[in-house]
Symmetry: C2
Subunit: 381 residues, 2 copies
């Protein structure tokens, strides 16, 4: 439960994405302290919020540079005054002109690669334009997506291709996204160590070959908060921690009271015989993300809270159409559903996945001790 | 496969939402002819596209008025010159001032209700403002969401409340959304008849009680295309038919070659040992909708097509992170994945659910015989 005055929420059109600013600052401080404790730099991933005031708060707390998931984020946040930006999706030749244009405008934009073909294209484009792109090599430490395995011969091949082609070898980076499938402290700590050890191994293999590797960058919210050791790592990245969500709750790295993003909704009807309340937050508001479906606790499309943010345990948004959500209680039908959630009353729904839910809204409503402020966010590419 | 020139797609930034305009027109004509064949009006639901040129094409083909899922759609399309609008989500008191403002600007905006509490609030607000709101009563013909059962006593109670309170009783409407769970012509025809019969019964009960009920409105894409009889129905509504999608394909009301919306994506990497191609369409582009997961054929996050729109059967976007999609072949690992889908090559992905995928993009790129045009779409509420 927040101690903020939720009466400000009475006037908002619904559905609306509400940020509890005090929770957000608490989450930012927690992650920053955690990473600071290892003496390592922290580079927040802005793909969760895509929102300038949120990112400013992350940098004010000690974040050094940002990670982005799209070049649109890079352009926007560079226009906001941020220079040190990592674009953490494998670069392809067709996107190099955009990267180059940003670098020429003074953005210290770094790209990543995990293949000889891509490294070759970067080198070739760089030579043609007279631009030494800074490139980090993506390392695969958990098999969940992209990257080169730390022991692979391709690692040295890619690095030499970049160096010989005139690119600047900035370092190695990895993301242990399979940490999202875990839910015990022991498993998470082991995955954090696997992520660290794999990325460090890759860096050491490069250095042993006489190749530069100043940066060793690891991270995901679950592993960042579970690491026991970050030796020889130089920076950590994480994103969703800024808001947290129900998936992170199930993984075990936050409580319901840490979740800073919720969807404000209005009760628009009931099906009394079924014990249902119908609300105006459907999947268009919550997103179609059902990330808790296969976790230890399935929250449907979200955990129902009273308008002041208190979780109403057992009540979840269990069904969703485009602009309709269906709330019911776990177990026995709630015969008092109309009295409990009267027509026109307001609820707040905690999301499964803050990155997906935020993306459904053009703006957040930031709730702090002074009231509400509109914070716009990016949409699209 | 389309006969449009896909070379226009070589220059687009990816991911991008592409509309095959010839398929879209074919889909519009098909639905309009189908409904015209019953001598019934057709009111397209614009929640799928939220896009002015698409809606204009639907009206040019014979659509009469539109259905909207948000008041933002109502305001936008009224500004575009459309007056006859049905807001097909149960109205709540807090939204009545917006409805009233639109009506005062000349918008013939109709609202729906399914409860005495809501009917009472409409009547009260209408009396206070001197406005006779036009209200349709929502009927529940399949138990999937909102509405009053046709035989229910509440039906007459709500109707009398509206009439006595000075509102205008416009008619009854229903949406058999559970048609999405079916996949045989027989089941679909039966559901269409259930939808029709229930809505007609509700209308006749109102008329027998001396209450007006000029409109009897039914529809969903699957039932509209499967109805054997629409006797005593006055209008049909449907939305997703304009683009169709993989869910509709699995239901059996379209072929892959009818799907007019696709996501253009670029191959950004590979995991050769796994037979994976990594593309830049992740769930942020496709949406998190996994609507085909429980249908007879699971397409993952989408069916992979070559850039000219030819489905590459067996290849689907089977994994997705925010900005990464993972493509692999069903069954045996594709050892030739790099040669088949080289770095930088382009693919088009057919979506599970066109309404959800479209919403991820600020604009469509409409591809017709003259090339590409940007069509903006609404986002948010």
């Amino acid at each position: 439960m927040t101690n903020l005055d939720s009466s400000y929420l009475a006037e908002l059109d619904t559905p609306a994405a509400v940020i509890d600013v005090s929770r957000m600052h608490r989450n930012i401080e927690r992650m920053q302290r955690c990473v600071d404790g290892f003496g390592v730099r922290f580079r927040p991933h802005v793909k969760t919020s895509k929102c300038t005031p949120v990112v400013r708060a992350q940098l004010a707390a000690g974040g050094r540079g940002i990670t982005v998931s799209t070049l649109k984020e890079a352009a926007q946040f560079h226009a906001d005054g941020i220079d040190d930006i990592l674009y953490a999706v494998g670069i392809v030749p067709t996107k190099l002109p955009q990267v180059w244009a940003l670098r020429r405008r003074g953005c210290d934009l770094k790209v990543i690669t995990d293949s000889v073909a891509s490294a070759s294209a970067i080198a070739e484009f760089g030579r043609a334009q007279g631009e030494a792109f800074e490139v980090w090599i993506e390392i695969d430490t958990d098999g969940h997506r992209s990257g080169i395995e730390p022991e692979s011969g391709a690692l040295l091949e890619v690095a030499r291709m970049l160096r010989d082609g005139g690119a600047r070898l900035g370092g190695v980076m990895t993301h242990a996204g399979s940490s999202y499938d875990l839910d015990t402290p022991g498993e998470l700590a082991a995955m954090a160590e696997q992520e660290r050890a794999g990325c460090v191994l890759a860096a050491e293999r490069l250095r042993a070959d006489g190749l530069p590797c100043p940066v060793v960058s690891v991270g995901s919210t679950p592993t960042a908060l579970s690491a026991g050791c970050l030796d020889r790592v130089t920076e950590v990245r994480a994103g969703v921690y800024v808001f947290f969500d129900l998936v992170m709750h199930n993984i075990g790295v936050c409580t319901l009271d840490d979740i800073a993003l919720s969807v404000l909704t209005t009760v628009i009807g009931h099906q009394v015989d079924k014990g249902w309340a119908i609300v105006d937050a459907g999947w268009m508001a919550m997103s179609r993300d059902r990330g808790t479906e296969k976790q230890k606790r399935d929250f449907g499309y979200g955990q129902v809270c009273s308008v002041d943010g208190t979780p109403l345990l057992g009540y979840a948004l269990r069904g969703a159409n485009q602009e309709h959500g269906i709330v019911w209680r776990e177990g026995e039908r709630d015969a008092d559903i109309v009295a409990r959630f009267p027509l026109g009353s307001r609820l707040r729904i905690l999301p499964n996945h803050a990155c997906a839910t935020g993306a459904q809204f053009p703006e957040y409503h930031a709730l702090d001790g002074h009231g509400l402020t509109r914070w716009s966010r990016l949409h699209g590419w």
